[in-house]
């Protein structure tokens, strides 16, 4: 079945696709950022080939060694090779960062567009709840939810979703209010399509772009704040290597062994840099498309 409105949206998308292929290669930021992240993931996949050490096994006779050709980043207070632990943590930390943005984005977009599209009391209720969540101190919420659900990654995702969805809901609602009045949506309505169908096929694709632009800047902040959570002792289970908890565990040694704190943080900076560049590039590509 061919629908007029579908055709319009489809055409936009076709254009977009062709444009994207061309523009992606013209964005140095995108390439550098993507390359940086890719290189880190590759390094972590090849961790066992790159470094001969075990990330978890202790060697209590070789503790707190400064960086050297044998241990590039030195060893920690359990005699574990810090460089190896940093490498092994790449995948976990990236996963935490990406999922911690993805979940709130999905929930926020859904509720926000529902509010914007349906209007009326649904909108009022959702937007009041958004206001409450925006003004609620992030940390109280996260610590409390982790305490209620028990520790672990799942509760961390739930907590970060509850803490982060409201911003996306705002964006979605704002965009929807504009799109709702657009011609093709009015046409689809006139043709008697169901609300759900209009929302999913005609409206959502159009609000994803601004959401992604926001998400790319958000993801850096979220990665940084998830590592802060393990700095406060609320993250992953030891002895799993994870950058935030490595820094937290190294803190008692800052006077005597700086490398426990400084070097694992470099990995976070690299990821943050990669993501920032990737986000800037992506935002440029998506903006020019519009």
């Amino acid at each position: 079945m061919s629908e007029p409105s579908m055709g319009m949206a489809g055409r936009v998308n076709d254009w977009g696709l062709r444009w994207r292929e061309a523009r992606w290669l013209q964005q140095p930021a995108l390439l550098v950022g993507g390359g940086l992240l890719l290189a880190m993931v590759l390094a972590s996949l090849l961790a066992k080939q790159i470094s001969p050490y075990d990330p978890i096994a202790q060697n209590l006779s070789n503790t707190l060694q400064p960086p050297s050709p044998v241990h590039w980043f030195g060893t920690d207070n359990f005699g574990r090779d810090i460089f190896t632990r940093v490498l092994h943590a790449v995948q976990l930390d990236l996963q935490i960062g990406v999922l911690s943005v993805l979940f709130p984005m999905v929930v926020g977009l859904f509720l926000g567009s529902l509010a914007g599209y349906l209007g009326g009391w649904v909108e009022t209720v959702v937007m009041r709840v958004v206001d409450v969540f925006t003004a609620f101190p992030f940390l109280v919420m996260v610590i409390a939810i982790i305490a209620i659900l028990g520790p672990g990654l799942t509760s961390m995702y739930v907590a970060l979703t509850l803490a982060g969805w409201s911003a996306y809901a705002r964006i979605a609602r704002g965009e929807i209010l504009v799109i709702k009045k657009a011609e093709y949506v009015q046409a689809a309505r006139a043709l008697g399509f169901s609300n759900l169908r209009i929302m999913f096929r005609h409206i959502l694709p159009n609000i994803v772009t601004p959401a992604i632009i926001f998400a790319m800047s958000d993801i850096v902040l979220v990665i940084l704040s998830t590592t802060s959570l393990s700095f406060l002792g609320l993250g992953v289970q030891p002895p799993t290597p994870e950058w935030g908890s490595m820094i937290a565990e190294g803190r008692p040694f800052i006077m005597t062994a700086w490398w426990l704190v400084t070097l694992p943080g470099m990995a976070i900076v690299l990821v943050g840099l990669g993501l920032s560049l990737l986000g800037d590039g992506l935002a440029d590509v998506l903006r020019t498309e519009e």
Binding site: L60, F78, I146, A147, G233, P238, R251, P252, M255
Partner: protein, 523 residues
């Protein structure tokens, strides 16, 4: 590159802006001439936390109670070496023959900071207040004493069961003596912020979050009057900052030196660093109600033998502590014996495991409080060591309140805890560590373990006046406890503090308490 330039620029600008006024010289107090211990001066102390409140009834944190114990008197007191129990506000005391009644005679010249006399009624009122239903310290009233005022200077305690250790509990902070008249004047709510001292010092000033100033109580009855004119308790939360401040002489005493810096401080000029025992044990209770394997004595013994405690002391405490050899909270506790130490013996551990009900091992979970680095380090090493006998430990950090709930609610499997003994007698913790709820205990530290003989022995020891006989009872108790090993007793951490080399007479007792009135400063 850019980053650095801007940073440096800002730093230079700000240093210029603020440096001028910030090199404030610490006030130097003139010290008195000659004489052994020198009098006068201001003693400045860096502590990692402020006082939360000054009302002992609601106190449950160390930094509040350590400060309260400078300004409040108690009936009894431990000797400075921590080995003996002496009367303090009491001039003398006497038991009846079956250890169910104790009578205390007070000093007749003891005064509160406002100069009013300390009477038996003040003592009774303070103690009764500490055991009201909304008190945080009501647990300190072992043997439920009935307190009677005989006359102005005489008090009688009638216990619900014979308890020769009872006077020991009268050294605890919940037994602090407050002025009834003062409380009536200012209102009991105000006791949190406006205490009236009954001990060696009076509270002079409290800048919350920053500074406490103590001055000597002119009406203090004891021979050991404060030697300095003022004590300043400064809040210096950061471990490194306390170390730096005692090195630069900004403070005279720094409490709670981090383990990692004891060695470095030993070489620092003008600084003396001290490491001494603490009545405390890091231990892992094994919950028999959630893990059936822990009900098997062989498995508990296998785990106890698989742990290299000396390695823990070396790695976690950097050697500044002692291996636990008894369920008692440290070698300095009365009646302690190291005869039943469980040595690290992997062969034996494996053999015990093979003979046990779970020869192929099992998986379990160890709960620690998140953010507690000592717990995390211990747990990671334990995980490694227990893996050698196929006990697969998952470490789960939980936030502090949840940790409490899991422990006291009995929903944990294994858990790291640092327990302390607040008096020098072992009787304090025995009900908690071994008695069932029906006996008035906590089901052996919430493990569900029960051994009738241990309960009998500890109850008999509470009735026994004769020290030699008590020692025998406790000897047998420790033997059975180490054989049964319902908890994995790991190590005793230490008290660590540093002073400038001109400070004399100051030390931290194994209970963690300290007395600034014994300290003096020479020029």
């Amino acid at each position: 590159m850019k980053h650095r330039i801007v940073g440096v620029w800002l730093v230079v600008w700000l240093v210029g802006l603020v440096l001028t006024g910030c090199v404030a010289a610490p006030a130097a107090a003139p010290a008195a001439e000659g004489g052994e211990p020198q009098r006068g001066g201001i003693l400045t102390v860096a502590r990692s936390a402020d006082v939360n409140l000054w009302d002992p009834k609601y106190t449950n944190d160390n930094y509040s109670l350590w400060a309260e114990m400078q300004i409040y008197a108690t009936l009894m007191q431990n000797s400075p070496d921590g080995l003996q129990l002496n009367p303090w506000l009491a001039e003398s005391y006497e038991f009846n023959e079956d250890a169910t009644e104790v009578t205390f005679k007070l000093h007749d010249d003891a005064q509160f900071c406002d100069g009013s006399p300390i009477t038996a009624e003040d003592v009774r009122w303070s103690l009764e207040r500490s055991r009201e239903p909304d008190s945080n310290v009501s647990w300190q009233f072992f043997s439920n004493p009935v307190i009677e005022v005989v006359d102005d200077l005489t008090l009688k305690f009638t216990l619900d069961r014979p308890n020769v250790a009872f006077p020991h509990y009268l050294t605890l902070w919940g037994m602090s003596v407050l002025s009834k008249k003062h409380a009536e004047t200012v209102g009991v709510e105000a006791l949190s912020t406006q205490p009236l001292g009954s001990g060696p010092f009076c509270l002079d000033r409290w800048d919350k979050g920053q500074l406490v100033v103590l001055k000597p109580n002119p009406g203090y009855w004891g021979e050991d009057r404060p030697l300095v004119d003022e004590v300043h308790l400064r809040v210096v939360q950061d471990d490194n900052a306390r170390v730096l401040q005692v090195q630069t002489g900004e403070v005279d005493i720094a409490l709670d030196i981090p383990y990692a810096q004891v060695e470095a401080l030993k070489g620092a000029p003008g600084v003396e660093v001290f490491v001494d025992t603490l009545y405390g044990t890091a231990a892992i209770p094994l919950n028999q109600r959630t893990v059936p394997q822990f009900a098997d004595k062989k498995i508990r013994q296998a785990m106890a033998h698989a742990i290299d405690r000396q390695a823990l002391v070396d790695a976690v405490l950097l050697g500044q502590g002692e291996v636990a050899k008894s369920p008692f909270y440290g070698p300095a506790i009365l009646y302690w014996t190291g005869d039943f130490e469980i040595p690290y013996d992997l062969e034996k551990a494996r053999q015990l495991m093979a003979e046990s009900s779970a020869p192929d091992g099992f998986a379990t979970e160890l709960i620690i409080t998140s953010g507690d680095t000592m717990a995390a380090q211990t747990a990671v090493i334990l995980k490694d060591q227990l893996a050698q006998i196929n006990v697969d430990v998952t470490i789960t950090p939980v936030e502090a309140g949840t940790w409490w709930e899991m422990w006291s609610g009995g929903t944990y499997q294994m858990l790291y805890k640092l327990g302390t003994n607040d008096v020098i007698d072992p009787a304090e913790n025995l009900p908690f560590d071994f008695w069932s709820v029906e006996d008035g205990g906590s089901d052996a530290a919430f493990t569900g373990f029960y051994n009738e003989r241990i309960v009998e022995l500890s109850q008999a020891a509470e009735r026994e006046f004769d020290n030699a006989k008590r020692a025998e009872l406790y000897y047998e108790l420790q033997q059975i406890a180490m054989d049964e090993t319902p908890q994995l007793w790991l190590f005793h951490p230490s008290n660590r503090w540093a002073t400038r080399d001109n400070v004399e007479g100051f030390s931290v007792f194994p209970t963690g308490l300290h007395r600034f009135w014994l300290a003096s400063k020479t020029q």
